[in-house]
Structures are given as structure tokens and as C-alpha cells.
Subunit: 225 residues, 2 copies
Amino acid sequence: MTLQSAVAADAGIPVHEQVYRQLRERILFGGFLPGKAVTLRGLADELGVSAMPVREAVRRLIAENALELHGNRRVSIPDVSQEIVDEIWSARRLLEVELASKALLHLGDDDIKALQDIDDQIDLALETGDVEGYMRGNYEFHFYLYSKSRSEVLIKLVKNLWVQFGPFMRLVYGRSGTANLEDQHKQALEALKALDQKALQAALEEDIAQGMGFIRESLGLSDKA
Amino acid sequence: MTLQSAVAADAGIPVHEQVYRQLRERILFGGFLPGKAVTLRGLADELGVSAMPVREAVRRLIAENALELHGNRRVSIPDVSQEIVDEIWSARRLLEVELASKALLHLGDDDIKALQDIDDQIDLALETGDVEGYMRGNYEFHFYLYSKSRSEVLIKLVKNLWVQFGPFMRLVYGRSGTANLEDQHKQALEALKALDQKALQAALEEDIAQGMGFIRESLGLSDKA
DNA sequence: GGCAATAGTTTGTGATCAAATTATCTTTGC
DNA sequence: GCAAAGATAATTTGATCACAAACTATTGCC
């Protein structure tokens, strides 16, 4: 789909913003493989826009660590490495546990309901083998919860982390599919209902560990902490 | 100083990159007041370059939370608020303690020496009332230490936090000067020499608390945690 | 005198083009 | 046959322009 076909719905939103959102989604939910090189003109042609808005969107994504700028001025999807995976894992544990704890303080019954709905969608995606659906649901679940923390600064940092491992996940699921995936959100939901902070932290750490463990395993990396 | 006068030293580096670095420094070390509006043409004229590279640099700085993009497409230095200060404080404690702990594992005698040199410069700046010198020294001290953690991902997140409170600090020092500032780095240095992780964490938390406490105090905000 | 409509100014956005830089292909010399 | 050097192609970069949206100041009306 080029941007042109979506222009009616996005009236008033600048083109560079639309390009940014589209590229970010593709990076986040598996539209690109790690290490893939992209060019401004290539993206512009593909999206049916001029080079200018692509330049702004790409600069922005580079600043968000979603794209990598090399010394020779070429741009690519960041490649995978053990160091990066470990770092992201460690940072996620630190920040997302904090966000979940803060969210717990401002959680209503309607929020539990909303999270349960998202979890149902995740189950459906797992059953039908819909990789992208699972990734979108997973993202939605986590950031719906975090949004309740009212910690905008932290949320931005965590989003920064998620775009970095998006392409990695695609690599993993592309190999193994959704078969081996368990839905770790059930335990989190139970902890949320009980307002049990300790249990929530444990569930989250388990969820993060599963995702990151999958990446490392699938890439043939060592499994020590 | 316009960019033109520095062009000889920065040969080969694209103009948008030079603009980015220059603007980032100004934001980080007190060249702008919180809430100040900026325009692309205004910055371009001021720096003696065309609007194009400024657009790319500003887009990048917005993505890094160093600048704020409003709904009416105007750009400004983010304004101060209690929520933001508290959030940054909380995030800094979390991430910088982690970074310092990791850095402790890879610290050599030459690093201690380097940090001591930076601390001497900070002392000098404090004595002479050189606000910008203090801010630069403080930045250098922290990120020299953090660079030893070899955690590039975390470092980027923390840099993201620092550009956000840079303008706030300027506001504070502009009022009270460097008179009330103590140098909290002495204790950190002692802890580093002794490889005492607990003491290092305590020193860091104290240092962060002082900086953030200063902001809140100076802005007349409440002082509760 | 206060408010709303309007004209004029400022500013962001997107397209196009030329220049500079980098990559790729081809050819030449050993 | 292979490596180095030159030519060619592709790409980024920066400037300029036209246009649209937003803001400001003025004017006219009630």
C-alpha cells in the first residue's frame, strides 16, 4: 500500500509524519530484516512521496535508534548482536518493572477489562499463527498498561527500546512461528486483578525473559545471563 | 559564533550534523531558556546556514526530547513542570545507578585519574562562578564514568534524560549561581577507588538528588518525594 | 469601547535541482 | 589472472522556490 491510498484518512497530517508512522510500524512489527540497507530515494519511490518527507522521517527514526546511520552516510536497519540483546533485556527489566508498578496505582476495573480484551486478541493470533497480530497485540498490552503509569518520560524510553528489538523478533518468529510461544500475560492479568505488585513484577520479568531468551536462542547465542 | 567560522575544523561533516551538535550543546549547557520558541528560519539565519539542514537537526532533536513540537507545528524548548522533573529524577536514579555499577567492573587506574582531572576542573569552575564550565564538567564526569559500563543502549537513554533537564538547570543557576553548589563527586571518587558499589550508588543518588532538588526548590515546587 | 472579520506577515511543508560524495563497474597494467 | 586505477552510476546533501497554514495587526461593525 502506498501512502496515497491512505491520504484521505490522514488529512491534515503532514506527509513526513505519515511516513514516520508507516516506517516505524514496519520496523516495530517485522516489516524489515535486521541489517537491511535502505535508501532515501528507494523509500520515497516505494511510498509514492518525494524524498523530502522521507529525509525528515528517517532522521527522526535514526534519533530513536530505530535506524542506524553509518559513517558513509548510508542508513540501515540495525543488525543483531549479543551485546545489544543483553543490554535491551537488562534495560527493559529495569524500566518496565518500574512502569508496571506505577501503573498499578492508577488502574481501574475498565482497564483490566481492556487488557483482557487485548489478551483475547493475542490468544486468537497465537491460534491462527498470525505473527504480526501477536506482535501488535503484545505491544498494545504492554503499552496500554504502561500508559496508566502517567510516566510519559519513561514510556518514551521504553518505546525506544521496543523499536530496537522489533526487527529481531521478526527474525525469530520467521523461523519458529508462534508455535512455541506461551501467553505470559495471563499471570500478569491475575496479578493486576489482585493488585499484587510482587507477582506483577515476576510475571513481567518472565514475559521479558521469554521474549529476549527467544531471540538469543534463535540466534544461536549462549544462554547465560 | 556562526557555523561558518568553525567550518574549517569540521571539514567533511555534513552541515545538518554540525547544526545538530551546536544546538544540542546550547540546550544541554544552558543556551536556551525553558519554553523559548524557536523557528527554523530564525535558527538558520542565526547560524548562517540555509533552512534545510536546520530542519533535519531540529527534527532529530525533537525525537530526542530536546525540543518540543506543538500541535500547531511550532517548536520550542520544553517548559518546566513538576511532573517532568519528578519523572526525570526517578528515571535518572534508576538508570544511572545501574550504569555506574556496570562501570565499576571495567574501571582502571587511568580512569580514576581522568575522573579526578575532570573533578579538578569542576572545582575550578565552582570557585570562579563559571556556570557553563560547571555544567560541562558535570556532564563530562558522569558520562566518562558511564562510558566505562560499555552499555551503549543505556547511555543513549540517559543522554536523552540529560538534554531534557539542561534548560532547567540553566534557569536554576541563573538565579542562584554556583554559590550553593557542593561538589558531590568527591564521595563518588572515593567509592570508585575503593570499588565500593554500595557507596558509589549512595554518592550518585545524592548527586542526582541535589541537582533535581535544586530545580524543584528553585522553581518553588513542593519538596516531597 | 469591545469584538469579530479581514488583510498582511511569518512560518512550516513539500518539490525540484545542482553539487558533492560514495559505491560500483570497467579497464588497464603487471 | 588479478589487483589497482579510472570512469560511470547511484545517493546524499544543501539551496531555492511555491504553497498552505498559522499568527498578528488592523479595520470595521455593533
